[in-house]
């Protein structure tokens, strides 16, 4: 239950965060940081048990019918990710206390959303139900959208991020549903234990869908474009969501599904290939970016690719190394982003071309940035060095064909050289060299620099005392691959091949850095022909245009445009029904009587009168006459109740029409002659069809059984002599209640239309004189008449 308490508490914290901010302004972030740090501590206390293999679980049935349960499970993998989520969350909160300006209007919203995101992310890594995992996954996408927010280009970036990751979210849902159907349960731990699922016929589809989800979320090729676009977000958000945690959700999913699919060729080859390609592309692009956040974003893309490929290798050693590197990356990338935020804040730019020599003005920040850059570059004694060494060892010993290990190791060395070079580029061009002229540097408060310094020092401290990680990493490998690699992390393993390769990386990186001007120039000359964000925008715009095109045929202010297709379909169906044998005329037609023909003769005149009326008085008169003729027809048919109702309603209708006419022009608007002819043709066809259908299908049988029963039993049952009345008020009273409800709703609607939202605020006035003059001028009205 402790998991539910922590998760629920974090969600509750997100709700009260805006209130705290209202009371204490940005200082409230310290309290939030303390709360998240406390949660980190609580979960960390379960570390020894989790590492032993005793997962912490919590289970609450939520929607039992859909096999959706609020079931949480913290094994070693979830433990590692949960600590990263909460720990980095606490640091980012502390950082936010100085990042946001005092009294800024958006602080409460942003901090509340950040905590909400932390809770969602925590839920994602703890979820032990496939559908629950999806729910939290989507919550992180949505909160990311609101956190990026912004206007202009920011909005475009936020939209790209949301659409890309939610497309992946849908794939995740589809994949999890397929997997759940295949496995007969949605309990994730049971599914993962069922090895038959890996070879089931559905497995390839599930794999493709889950990989789509992981690749979109973790910005792998070809979906990497959304991540740099999301950098328009404020730095705490870039740090937390787009470097340390949310983009790791895809990595987490890959980790999580490895027990099931780690040995499947489709899974393995896709993950390794996509990961390596992404790592390479990200590193190359990062070499040329001058916007520090863009540089770091492409660096993140590259590192995520590196992690993806490492998980794809899938050996216990590789998975353990990936776990170490996940932690290392979270620490150094958070430091780097927070440093950039400080620079942006105090210098006013984050463009490398305008920066330089900041070490003298900001020694503390330079230390933090330097430590993180060293870790990212993979130099001892930092954590990044340890994880890179282990990763290289894992690539060298990759299971499978021999060429795989060689090719993968070669590519990883190339990626690492690039990583070293852009790390050096970041540090050198920001903190070293001459300070750019005209650059004014404000003094950053110590509390502001504390956060990046804390993560940097943590990374260094863990690096120096790296064996403390051994139990956790080995436990992660054990739950993921079923084998404990017995990894003993250390800074010094002796003269091994990975160490030699590290030397190659340093040498190559230094060379690349030394030639940086030439490399940049060379890269800029070859502009990338295909850009993901442009391709996305093109597809997005094309989709919208296509939707508009499709919708245009059904989007008109001309009612006839909608009505003609409806009439055509109804007419076709009716004609078909008449022609169709089974529905054709059965029984003798109903006989006609003399008075009927009189009514018909008069109806012809009155209907033509309504149709042709040019003035409202003429229309009302002929309309009323038509209604009374219908009433007369009911009298002839032996339906006095109908006739009475019809008379009353017709009188009321005429009264309402006259009232409405006080607000309407005295002459009608007429359509063009061509349209009148078309309408007449359609009308005649409709009339003939209905007449034929009525003649063929209606009234060709005796009294209905129900009708006969009413006639014989109604009086005994109800005591009423008027059978129609007894039906209305006794047998089908509910229908009558519905009818009254319709009237009440219509009355409410009419009241709202006429009385509410009246710009004059005076309500309806039923005289033409009082009414505001119509906007259409007489000449316009005449022109319409002529048309």
């Amino acid at each position: 239950m402790i998991l539910l308490a922590v998760l629920g508490g974090t969600f509750a914290l997100s709700a009260i965060a805006p209130l705290l901010v209202r009371a204490f302004d940005r200082e409230a972030a310290w309290a939030l940081a303390a709360a998240l740090a406390g949660a980190t501590g609580i979960l960390a206390g379960y570390g020894p048990a989790v590492v032993r293999g005793d997962a912490v679980v919590a289970h609450v049935a939520w929607v039992p019918g859909a096999d959706l349960a609020l079931s949480l499970r913290m094994d070693a993998l979830a433990f590692l990710f949960a600590l990263i989520v909460l720990g980095i969350g606490a640091v980012v909160m502390a950082y936010s206390a100085r990042y946001f300006a005092a009294g800024a209007a958006q602080t409460g919203r942003t901090l509340g959303l950040l905590v909400f995101f932390a809770a969602s992310m925590l839920g994602l890594v703890l979820a032990d139900n496939a559908l629950l995992l999806f729910v939290f996954w989507e919550l992180t996408s949505v909160s990311s959208f609101f956190l990026i927010g912004g206007r202009g280009e920011g909005q475009a970036g936020a939209t790209r991020a949301l659409l890309t990751t939610s497309a992946g979210g849908l794939a995740l849902l589809a994949g999890m549903v397929l997997l759940g159907i295949d496995g007969g349960t949605f309990a994730l731990s049971s599914l993962l234990a069922d090895q038959t699922l890996a070879t089931s016929p559905l497995a390839p589809a599930v794999i493709v869908l889950l990989l789509l989800a992981a690749f979109t979320k973790s910005a792998q090729l070809p979906f990497h474009f959304w991540l740099p676009g999301a950098m328009v977000a404020p730095t705490p958000i870039s740090t937390y969501l787009h470097a340390a945690t949310m983009v790791k959700a895809g990595i987490y999913l890959l980790f999580r599904m490895t027990p099931l699919y780690g040995d499947v060729a489709l899974w393995r080859s896709s993950v390794i290939a996509v990961g390596l390609a992404t790592a390479l592309v990200g590193a190359v692009v990062a070499l040329v970016k001058t916007d520090l956040k863009a540089l770091l974003a492409y660096g993140t893309v590259s590192q995520l690719g590196f992690l993806t490929a490492l998980i794809g290798i899938g050996s216990p050693l590789a998975v353990a190394a990936a776990a170490v590197h996940t932690l290392a990356h979270a620490l150094f990338k958070a430091t780097l982003f927070m440093s950039v935020g400080v620079i942006d804040h105090e210098v006013g730019t984050r463009d490398l071309d305008e920066l330089g020599g900041l070490r003298r003005a900001m020694p503390g920040l330079a230390a933090a940035g330097g430590l993180a850059a060293l870790s990212m570059a993979g130099l001892p004694p930092l954590l990044g060095f340890v994880s890179k060494e282990e990763a290289l060892a894992a690539f060298i010993e990759a299971p499978g064909p021999e060429w795989l290990g060689i090719v993968a190791t070669g590519l990883v060395v190339a990626v690492s050289i690039g990583t070293f070079a852009y790390s050096a580029r970041y540090y050198w061009r920001t903190f070293e060299g001459p300070q750019a002229p005209g650059l004014t540097v404000n003094r950053a408060p110590a509390t502001f620099v504390a956060a990046p310094l804390a993560t940097a020092i943590t990374g260094a401290a863990i690096g120096v005392s790296v064996p403390v990680l051994n139990p956790v990493e080995n436990a992660v490998a054990l739950v993921t691959t079923g084998t404990d690699p017995g990894l003993a992390l250390a800074l010094w393993h002796g003269w091994t091949l990975p160490l030699v390769l590290s030397g190659v990386v340093v040498a190559g990186g230094l060379a690349l850095f030394a030639l940086r001007d030439r490399v940049e120039g060379w890269q800029r000359r070859f502009a990338t022909p295909l850009r993901g964000d442009r391709a996305f925008d093109g597809a997005y715009d094309a989709l919208l245009a296509a939707g508009k095109h499709v919708g245009a045929s059904a989007s008109s202010s001309v009612p006839a445009v909608y009505l003609v297709p409806v009439l055509a379909v109804l007419g076709t169906l009716g004609a078909g029904a008449v022609v169709w044998d089974e529905l054709g005329p059965q029984g003798a037609p109903a006989p006609s009587l003399g008075p009927d023909w009189v009514i018909i003769g008069l109806l012809v005149v009155s209907v033509v009168g309504v149709v042709q009326a040019r003035s409202r008085i003429g229309a009302v008169a002929t309309l009323g006459f038509t209604g009374y003729l219908v009433a007369a027809w009911f009298v002839v048919l032996g339906a006095p109740d109908l006739a009475l109702t019809q008379l009353l309603v017709e009188t009321l209708t005429v009264a309402v029409v006259v009232l409405a006419f006080r607000r309407l022009p005295s002459a009608f608007t007429f359509a063009r002659p061509s349209r009148r002819v078309t309408s007449a043709v359609v009308a005649v066809i409709a009339g003939v069809l209905t007449a034929v259908a009525t003649y063929a299908l209606a009234g060709r049988r005796g009294l209905s059984d129900v009708g006969a029963w009413y006639l014989s039993e109604a009086q005994a049952e109800t005591g009423g002599a008027n059978i129609v009345n007894t039906i209305l008020v006794d047998f089908r009273a509910l229908d009558t209640l519905g009818e009254i409800t319709v009237l009440a709703v219509a009355a409410g609607g009419i009241y709202a239309l006429l009385r509410l939202g009246d710009p004059t605020g005076l309500g309806p006035r039923w005289t033409v004189e009082d009414h505001p003059a119509p906007r259409a001028t007489p000449t316009e009205a005449n022109r319409k008449l002529q048309r």
Binding site: S557, A560, G638, D641, S679, A683, A686, A747, P759
Partner: protein, 115 residues
């Protein structure tokens, strides 16, 4: 036969009107279509038996009309009145908002310009 003619006549008139410009004529067309529908409902019960379905001293009239379609038609008449009133209110409101009874004005400025 006669019921069919009446239904067809009212349908043709109503259909013509709802295809016209101007909300009021559309509403008039709707009213005619309402008549057509109630007439059709009654016709479905068979217009051959025309005895009034009210029990007198001597019991049921000879050849009584089917009371059930009549009850349906009665409900239909009242409901179409409610809708008619609502449509007229819409038309009246539209006059204030659009400056006229012609809903097709704003979306088709080119047509209006051509005159």
């Amino acid at each position: 036969m006669t019921a069919a003619i009446i239904v067809g006549l009212l349908t043709a008139g109503g259909t013509y009107l709802i295809l016209q410009r101007g909300l009021v004529r559309v509403v008039l067309g709707f009213i005619l279509l309402g008549h057509a529908t109630t007439t059709l409902l009654v016709a479905a019960g068979g217009v051959g038996r025309r005895g009034i379905a009210i029990l007198g001293q001597q019991g049921v009239a000879e050849q009584p009309a089917d009371p059930l379609p009549q009850a349906f038609a009665l409900t239909a008449i009242v409901i179409s009145f409610g809708i008619t009133a609502f449509l007229l209110a819409l038309a009246a409101r539209g006059r204030t908002v659009l400056g006229g009874d012609d809903v097709e004005q704003p979306a088709e400025p080119d047509e209006a310009d051509r005159g």
